[in-house]
């Protein structure tokens, strides 16, 4: 306690009560401070009310928006809308739009393999890293003012015809996403992608016989490639739309699906085999089967006098969700026909032969026992390559390299892709081939591709006609330097095609076309070094009765090969006639 406290303390120790507060001054409603406080209160309340109103608006509007969007992501409202969406998406190079317009089963079949394929092409530097599936630089496709006509097929299926509109495309080679490998390879063959400048337009897309089929997939209309194909086939056959299609035959496991397919195939039960194929890939074929295939005409094993039995079948599966790859660990086939009884089993990289198959192999290949293994097959192929190598003197050098590249490569595992739909497993052949192709591509390195290009170059540059196809060849007098080998950075040529033109060489029965005439003039000018003399040579050449020789000369000049002696004689005679 401080001294000041003592001063105020009464002698008896009591503390005096505090003085009453001064009376509050009367509030002047017009005083400035009061006015400000009131505004703050009213302003705060107003802001809150405004915020609540804004929030409530957002909330109610947002709920309504969500209610219209959630669960509403289906297909299009009409068949025409589905086709229009696809063409619009193509115009915009909009892969997402294209995928969204496709039948879901077909879309799922194509999407992943396409992604994998282009990823591999990018890894191998066939395309460069600017390549995107969501748009390809240098490629422009456009549809405009397209009109449609719909023709119902059955409930849920409709043909959509294009009744008018315009299409155009343009390719700009300078912007194409050409990878380093492809650019190098093209350069070796004298091709510069930047030279590729193409454009064309079709002013009237109307067509009475070209259509796309749209299908109602239950949540909207989508374009079906499969139905388009089978509907075109049905139309050409003049057959009615089947009321009911084939019932797909599902299996309880991936292995059972593959086994069912193999057993149907060996029993020549085509219906059984097709029925086991994935409805995602072959729904249209299943539907139209009764009109596309007359089963009464299909031959049975009895008709053919052949009995095929599947033996030693061992399968295992690698399952990932609704997809599985089934690997054949062992499979055997025994065939009994009128003059043949034999077969074989493939397992562990070897083939064990039986009966007449064994006898034939022993006779043809000189086998000591009934088993051929991978090493034996490799030896046989190497022998074949040695023979191919001996042919290089005949101008087929490089063939052994081409075959050798395949032998040395890592072998991808071969699996049959199956897919689960509504709890049942089916064989998916399109995915199988796509998966196998991708698996094979994954074993390839850029060096392998370069070796293959080397082999191709050697094969075609090695010496057909002594001069090679990619360099050398027919060298008219005076053109030795110009017609050098491509490797020497010599002569090359490209041509822009405005339209699809006449076949190479033109029509021998007609008048010499301007293109051929120009090439012959270039040939003559190169040989004489004088435009007037070249005109003379050209005129001399055109006196011949055999236009084929002129086309041959033009093609030989253009594609650098050696023409026949007869064509050469004709050219030299024309040169001589003009004082050359």
């Amino acid at each position: 306690m401080s001294d000041h406290d003592d001063v105020w303390r009464r002698p008896d120790g009591d503390v005096p009560p505090p003085p009453p507060p001064p009376p509050a001054p009367p509030i002047d409603p017009l005083a400035p401070a009061a006015v400000e406080q009131s505004h703050v209160r009213r302003g705060g309340l107003g802001a809150r009310v405004g915020a609540i109103a804004l929030g409530a608006l957002l909330l109610v509007g947002g709920v309504a928006f969500a209610a219209t969007q959630v669960g509403g992501s289906g297909g299009n409202d009409s068949p025409e809308d589905a086709v229009a969406q696809m063409l619009d998406a193509l115009s915009d190079e909009d892969l997402l739009g294209v995928l969204a317009s496709l039948d879901p089963g077909e879309r799922d079949t194509l999407r992943q393999p396409a992604e994998d394929l282009f990823a591999e092409l990018e890894r191998l530097e066939v395309v460069d890293d600017s390549f995107e599936l969501t748009g390809i630089d240098g490629l422009d496709l456009a549809f405009s003012d397209v009109t449609y006509r719909t023709e119902p097929i059955v409930d849920g299926l409709a043909r959509v015809y294009v009744t008018g509109g315009r299409a155009s495309f343009a390719v700009d080679g300078r912007e194409l996403p050409v990878g380093d490998f492809l650019a190098d390879a093209l350069e070796r063959f004298g091709v510069d992608p930047a030279d590729l400048q193409e454009s064309d337009a079709e002013d009237d897309l109307a067509s009475d016989d070209t259509f796309l089929v749209a299908r109602d997939t239950g949540d909207g209309w989508r374009v079906s490639i499969g139905y388009t194909a089978v509907e075109a086939a049905r139309g050409s056959m003049g057959a009615p739309v089947p009321a009911t299609g084939m019932q797909a035959i599902g299996a309880a496991s991936p292995e059972e699906a593959v086994e069912g397919l193999l057993r149907s195939a060996t029993a020549l039960d085509l219906r059984g085999a097709v029925g086991r194929l994935s409805p995602h890939e072959f729904a249209a074929l299943h539907h139209y089967w009764p009109v596309l295939v007359d089963e009464a005409d299909l031959p049975s094993a009895d008709d053919l006098g052949v009995s095929v039995e599947l033996t030693d079948l061992e399968l295992d599966a690698d399952t990932d969700g609704d997809r599985a790859r089934v690997f054949i660990r062992s499979i055997g086939v025994d065939v009994v026909a009128e003059d043949f009884a034999g077969g074989g089993t493939v397992a562990d990289g070897c083939v064990v032969l039986r009966g007449d198959a064994l006898a034939a192999a022993q006779e043809e290949l000189g086998l000591d026992d009934d088993t051929i293994c991978r090493d034996d097959i490799q030896g046989l192929l190497e022998d074949a390559m040695d023979e191919a190598g001996a042919m290089s003197g005949m101008g087929i050098g490089g063939l052994e390299d081409l075959m050798g590249a395949g032998l040395d490569a890592e072998q991808p595992a071969f699996g049959i892709t199956t897919t689960k739909i509504d709890g049942q497993w089916y064989v998916a052949p399109i995915r199988t081939f796509a998966d196998l192709g991708i698996a094979a591509l994954r074993t390839v390195e850029r060096e392998d591709l370069e070796a293959a290009v080397d082999a191709v170059e050697e094969l075609f540059g090695g010496g057909f006609f002594g001069g090679g196809m990619l360099g050398g060849g027919f060298v008219p007098p005076g053109l030795t330097d110009e017609f050098g080998d491509f490797d020497d950075g010599g002569w090359s040529e490209y041509e822009e095609f405005e339209d699809i033109g006449e076949p190479i060489g033109g029509d021998p029965q007609g008048v010499l076309d301007p293109g051929t005439e120009r090439i012959l003039y270039e040939l003559a000018e190169g040989a004489t070094g004088d435009p007037e003399a070249a005109q003379c040579v050209l005129a001399e050449l055109q006196r011949t009765d055999d236009a084929f020789l002129l086309f041959e000369l033009a093609d030989a000049h253009r594609y650098e090969f050696e023409p026949s002696a007869e064509a050469q004689d004709l050219f030299f005679a024309a040169l001589e006639a003009c004082g050359g």
């Binding site: 406080q37 705060g44 809150r48 915020a51 929030g55 909009d94 969204a100």
Partner: protein
């Protein structure tokens, strides 16, 4: 007049950020080919094209709740319910931020709007978390 509590201020800021985050979602987010799409169009077309991974496909429809969440956060903040506003803002920010980040990392060509959405999503989440934390502390006192 009662002074504003920290939680209320944080909730108001988080709700405002949430509104901004929601406001950018209808803008062009990414393009496929030459076609630009808003975030809502992207979710819709990605579902229809079947390109969403299974784990994301099930959650994708939540994206359509972004405007409603923003509205709910604003209402809660205006009604001085900072804990609720903070929770809603945190959810909204996480949704916008994560969705935008996934779009940004996809193979699509994205625009600057996506980056703005990522930043706003993160800021909204942070603001919401601060509001939540402050509201809990104030409740404990």
């Amino acid at each position: 007049m009662r002074g504003h509590r920290t939680s209320e201020v944080a909730a108001a800021v988080a709700a405002a950020l949430g509104v901004l985050a929601a406001a950018v979602t209808p803008l062009p987010f990414a393009r496929s080919g030459t076609r630009w799409r808003s975030s809502y169009e992207l979710v819709d077309i990605a579902e229809r094209a079947g390109v969403l991974p299974d784990a994301i496909a099930g959650l994708a429809p939540l994206w359509f709740l972004v405007p409603a969440l923003a509205g709910a956060a604003v209402v809660a903040a205006a009604l001085r319910r900072p804990a609720i506003a903070g929770g809603l803002a945190t959810t909204l920010g996480a949704l916008v931020g994560t969705g935008s980040l996934l779009t940004w990392r996809s193979s699509l060509t994205t625009g600057a709007v996506v980056v703005v959405a990522i930043v706003l999503g993160a800021a909204t989440t942070l603001g919401g978390a601060v509001a939540l934390g402050a509201a809990r502390k104030e409740a404990a006192r």
